[in-house]
């Protein structure tokens, strides 16, 4: 366990030394959200109707873009190779990396999501469900995204490829996440949605690290 915390500390330290890594996904999230009123319509009734979907899509894209680099710097400077041959479990290192990625992208996204909600005239009763659904849904996005990132880390052209691999897998989270917010706005119970989001999270927490470790081994050896 102490090894896990040491790995987590290393990842967090690396992130806080590159503070732009924290700001960039958030700025991207805000910009994508701003495109919708500009591109479609600034009408408040329209915006409040699409708010849940737009915020979730923007969060999903922000997560997708930032997950691309989760293993890249370690791969390029060779530390990933050292992690692979070390006696410690790669599973723990991978989990620490994914948790760090979630803290930097999903967690902060959930915290600033009320700001975007306000800009989209989200009805008051929807804020709680918005924050909770993002908190429960974005860790799954980080886990699934890390699979794609691990598969493509050795390749020169990462960007578009990882979206092709990962976006279809994001669909259930998007459906249930946006569904939570919509149920919250309408004053319906949201526990069922949250339970499903939590179930998907637990499921991917069990299986995704296995796939990530296997993918990293392939990427490093090739």
């Amino acid at each position: 366990m102490s090894f896990f915390f040491a790995a987590l500390k290393r990842e967090l330290l690396l992130v806080f030394r590159h503070r732009s890594d924290i700001i960039n996904p958030l700025a991207f999230f805000l910009m994508v959200a701003v495109l919708f009123p500009l591109g479609v319509s600034p009408d408040p009734s329209f915006l409040s109707e699409v708010a849940s979907g737009v915020i979730w899509v923007a969060a999903l894209l922000a997560c997708l873009l930032s997950v691309d680099s989760i293993f890249r710097s370690d791969f390029q400077d060779g530390s990933l190779e050292q992690m692979l041959i070390s006696a410690e479990s790669l599973w723990l290192i991978v989990t620490a990396k994914v948790i760090t990625h979630w803290l930097v992208s999903g967690f902060f996204l959930a915290l600033i999501s009320p700001l975007v909600g306000m800009m989209f005239f989200l009805p008051e009763q929807g804020y709680f469900s918005l924050i909770v659904s993002l908190l429960l849904g974005t860790p799954t996005l980080s886990l699934m995204g890390a699979i794609g990132s691990a598969l493509t880390v050795g390749l020169r052209k990462g960007g578009v490829l990882i979206s092709l691999l990962v976006l279809p897998l994001y669909i259930p989270v998007l459906i249930f996440g946006a569904g939570t917010v919509q149920a919250g706005v309408m004053g319906l119970p949201i526990q069922g949605y949250l339970a499903l989001l939590a179930a998907i999270l637990v499921f991917s927490l069990m299986l995704a690290p296995v796939a990530i470790v296997a993918a990293l081994k392939i990427s490093v050896r090739s």
Binding site: L151, L164, L167, G179, A211, A215
Partner: protein, 249 residues
């Protein structure tokens, strides 16, 4: 614990044995495909009775349903072959998985296209955000992801293993995607489209459909074996038996 697999399982792993074995199978599957597809098509298009609600437009079912079923089975086969390749380090399984991806993608496109053509007269729209249509579209996206990943690697062995992992991840996700899409659809769908209740099909309608499904599976087997054989020759071109084989022509 040691699990011993039957002998034919290991024999399949040998490229040469696979090549010779499929060479013997191919003509039989080819004949079966020809017979089943022509009998099914003629029976379905000419002799089967017209639907009492949809008239003759329902006859596209004889292409649409087999291709939809096949698109899903093909993904299953691709993922299982990939898993066999990862677990038993079997080159042949990876070759089969690689051959599956483009075939499956084309069949999924065929299923979507025939669905759209059928939807226009029946629902009045080329595309409806119906759960089954959307799930098929996502399946096509999963195929595209696997194909893109295969193409991105220069090293064949890494491409095989990486796409095997991706197709397994996709296989685990397919039921989740399917049910989430179904639920999303029932929540959002305005009650404008009610798909005409399927009447219990009379045998004159479903027997040709069954023949078409079997014919599609045989057709798939022919294409799959053909693609796998070509890929196998390409990969094994340095081995002696391939050189001797080519020298004969």
């Amino acid at each position: 614990m040691k699990i011993s697999m039957p002998r034919w399982f290991y024999q399949l792993a040998s490229p040469r044995w696979f090549y010779e074995f499929t060479g013997k199978l191919l003509p039989w599957f080819g004949i079966a495909t020809l017979v089943l597809l022509s009998v099914g098509t003629i029976w379905g298009l000419v002799f089967a009775p017209a639907d009492y609600q949809q008239g003759n437009s329902f006859r596209i079912i004889y292409v649409h349903v087999p291709s939809s079923i096949l698109a899903q089975s093909c993904y299953m086969l691709m993922a299982v072959a990939g898993a066999i390749g990862l677990i038993w380090k079997m080159k042949m399984a990876h070759i089969v998985a690689q051959a599956c991806a483009p075939i499956g993608a084309s069949i999924a496109i065929m299923s979507l296209a025939t669905g759209a053509i059928w939807g226009k007269p029946t629902w009045g729209a080329w595309w409806v955000w119906d759960a089954r249509l959307t799930a098929m579209l996502v399946l096509l996206f999963l195929y595209i992801g696997v194909i893109a990943l295969q193409a991105a690697f220069e090293n064949k062995a890494s491409a095989d293993k990486a796409s095997a992992i991706l197709s397994l991840v996709g296989l685990v996700n397919i039921p989740i995607i399917k049910y989430s899409v179904e639920w999303w659809n029932t929540l959002h769908q305005p009650a404008t489209f009610t798909v005409t209740e399927k009447p219990a099909m009379p045998p004159e309608m479903w027997i040709p459909l069954l023949i078409m499904v079997l014919g599609f599976y045989c057709f798939f087997a022919v294409i799959l074996m053909g693609r796998a054989r070509v890929e196998l020759l390409e990969r094994e071109k340095r081995s002696d038996w391939v050189k001797q084989l080519i020298a004969k022509y």
